[in-house]
């Protein structure tokens, strides 16, 4: 690594130290908090009883993911990450959560819990396939799906529901958002912001190739993501040492969902970098990447509502969304899909990165850039 390259990397790290530092600290704290949250249900009598039942084989193993029912699990809290280390215990966790919620008066997620319970009780035979829907039924179902997605008339705004939403936001929402923020921020900073600030001239009038410049940007961002994996795992382990769990999750099991999260961040980073390489102002790649990210999230969410699960009309936005490769619970429990999901996310990152490199090497740098 040449001295010039090291200097570039050092400069970027210095510029981003506060942003990256805050992100890492927040992820560490939230990972710890997730373990604390899990430990609360670990200590309960109900949880122990269900776990013992599971160990005696009185609870059925969950079926591998193949339907919307399993998909719905992915929207479950990441708190499950630290609770079980294998597929067998998923059932335990589900029932444990249910018991806890019943005790604390929190409203149940009826669909999820009912399906989990169905698994728990070991349904002996698969139900017969439903009759095909008429076009009218499909239309009504689509309308109902949207209504449900927006909240619907049954939305319970009692304190328990709000608390649950807040909990999901803390243990799932923010840990996903922080790597996405990092990716969008670093992507737009790499080219467009440097041109807008006017410092690109100073750097590229020195004997530094454009490829080396972009590589330094990418490596620094990837370094940030690797640090995120480290702090997520470290936060969980430190949390476990303080609060204790009956079943200690392995390092590998904790690393898998963290990799899934940062893989998603890398894909969004690549997308932003690509738009940034075409631009001269920062706000535009920021805005385009943010809109695309939100659109993909909405598309994925719509496609995976229970009402829309078997409606092919909704499948497309779900399939086009990078969020369809985001499945941290499964990554934690088994990791069966993780290589494929990570592969897709890395391919998005590499493809967009190549476009960014191609464009950046050919573009004009405007005066006073």
């Amino acid at each position: 690594m040449s001295k010039a390259f090291r200097t570039l990397v050092k400069r970027i790290l210095m510029e981003t130290r506060f942003f990256l530092g805050f992100t890492l600290l927040a992820l560490f704290a939230l990972s710890w908090f997730s373990i604390y949250r899990a430990s609360l249900s670990e200590g309960r009598e109900e949880t122990r009883a269900v776990r013992e039942m599971a160990q005696r084989g009185e609870l059925a193993k969950p079926a591998p993911k193949k339907s919307a029912e399993t998909k719905a699990e992915s929207s479950e809290s990441e708190k499950g990450k630290a609770e079980e280390a294998d597929g067998k215990n998923v059932a335990t966790k589900k029932t444990g959560d249910e018991a806890e919620k019943a005790e604390s008066g929190e409203p149940k997620k009826t669909d999820d819990l009912a399906s989990a319970k169905k698994q728990d009780e070991g349904a002996p035979a698969e139900p017969p396939p439903p009759p095909p829907l008429t076009e009218e039924q499909r239309r009504q179902r689509r309308a109902r799906g949207f209504y449900q997605f927006l909240g619907g008339p049954d939305m319970d705004m009692s304190s328990g529901a709000i608390a649950t939403m807040l909990m999901y936001f803390l243990t799932v929402g923010i840990p996903i958002m922080l790597p996405l923020f990092w990716g969008i921020s670093r992507g737009s900073a790499a080219v467009a912001a440097e041109i807008e600030r006017g410092t690109m001239d100073m750097i590229l009038s020195r004997p530094v190739s454009r490829s080396a410049y972009l590589l330094a940007q990418v490596l620094t961002t990837v370094f940030g993501y690797l640090m995120m994996v480290v702090v997520i795992v470290a936060g969980a382990k430190v949390g476990e040492s303080f609060h204790g769990l009956d079943t200690s999750p392995s390092f590998v099991a904790l690393t898998r969902p963290a990799l899934n999260v940062v893989g998603l961040g890398l894909a969004i980073y690549g997308l932003t970098l690509m738009f940034s390489a075409f631009d001269i102002v920062r706000w535009r790649p920021n805005m385009i990447a943010s809109i695309l990210t939100i659109a993909q999230l909405v598309g994925y969410a719509v496609a995976n509502q229970p009402e829309t699960a078997d409606d092919s009309w909704y499948k497309l936005p779900g399939k086009l969304s990078v969020f369809s490769t985001f499945y941290p619970i499964e990554a934690f429990v088994k990791g069966e899909y993780l290589p494929r999901h990570l592969g897709i996310l890395l391919m998005v990152f590499i493809a967009t990165g190549i476009v960014a490199l191609w464009r950046f090497n050919r573009r004009d740098l405007p005066a006073n850039s």
Partner: protein, 308 residues
């Protein structure tokens, strides 16, 4: 003379607008080459094309035989550039800034840059750059440019934000750089500065190269204004080296190159009532292309000729 920078038919087009049009010029090794022209005349575009920051629409530019676009990295190893508008990393101190830029060149020249900044430019390098005034930032960037161990210095309006004494320092540093064998391209708006230090000057207008003037022969030339008591002669001895620039009744303006004694002897025999001898500054030449009365139509034959 060895050519170190050459452009041939260099054209840069943005849609219908030509930022540069068929620019062909040569810069010789070890000379100070002045670039003159108003804003938007193409000076900065020329410089940025040489540095490989802009890709020419047609034509080519080369530095020491290296293509400025394809071999841009090797070109930039040989060139130090001072941008016209300075933007810096405000969170770095002056010293950190110099160190950062030197390390991008492998670490060479830091000591010299610190020496120029502290001793010559009188900067406090411990202060954050964000606390520097515009002139101080310019001084810091100049210290960096003059310290780089390179063959070519490209200075885009290097004195624009400086006080008069600092301007003098910069001009001295340019002369010093030339004495050390460096080639300098000096773009500016202050004619007297360009005139003082340049070996040759190019005048640009709307992306065209209008004129290249050799300042040495210009400095040797003198302007002679003479008022004759009687009708002045229509022709003059060829060996005197007189060129009539303007004839206004009995008053004539000559351009003269050569030996002054024989000229004075000749005039003393002609019966002149008044005589003034001086040198012509660049203003006259500049105004020929950029004066208030100059219109594109008048320059049309030149502009037409320069079209690609």
């Amino acid at each position: 003379m060895e050519t170190i920078i050459a452009t041939h038919g260099l054209t840069k087009q943005y849609g219908d607008f030509y930022a540069l049009r068929d620019l062909s010029l040569e810069v010789h090794r070890g000379e100070v080459f002045g670039l003159l022209g108003p804003n938007g005349s193409g000076k900065t575009t020329t410089i940025r094309t040489i540095l490989g920051m802009i890709r020419a629409t047609s034509g080519y530019a080369s530095v020491a035989g290296l293509d400025c676009w394809h071999d841009s990295l090797m070109v930039r190893e040989r060139v130090s550039y001072l941008p016209g508008e300075l933007r810096m990393f405000g969170y770095l101190s002056g010293y950190q800034h110099l160190k950062f830029l030197c390390e991008l060149r492998g670490g060479a020249g830091l000591e010299r840059a610190v020496h120029i900044a502290e001793s010559i430019m009188e900067l406090d390098l411990n202060r954050k750059v964000r606390r520097y005034s515009t002139g101080m930032k310019q001084k810091l960037a100049l210290a960096q440019a003059f310290a780089d161990p390179v063959e070519i210095l490209i200075l885009d309006e290097p004195t624009s934000a400086l006080d008069p004494s600092a301007r003098g320092l910069v001009l001295d540093l340019v002369i010093n750089a030339r004495a050390q064998g460096q080639t300098v391209i000096f773009s500016g708006h202050v004619l007297s500065e360009v005139e003082r230090i340049s070996d040759r000057v190019a005048i640009m207008r709307r992306g065209h190269l209008m004129h290249v003037e050799d300042m040495h022969s210009r400095r040797c030339a003198r302007m002679v204004l003479a008022r004759f008591e009687v009708d002045p002669p229509q022709e003059f001895p060829e060996d005197l080296g007189l060129i009539v620039r303007r004839r206004d009744g009995n008053e004539l303006l000559f351009e003269h190159q050569g030996e002054i004694r024989s000229l004075l002897d000749w005039f003393s025999r002609q019966g002149i009532s008044e005589m003034a001898i001086g040198t012509e500054d660049l203003r006259g030449l500049y105004d020929k292309y950029h004066g208030p009365d100059v219109r594109d139509e008048e320059l049309a034959p030149v502009l037409e000729y320069a079209k690609p």
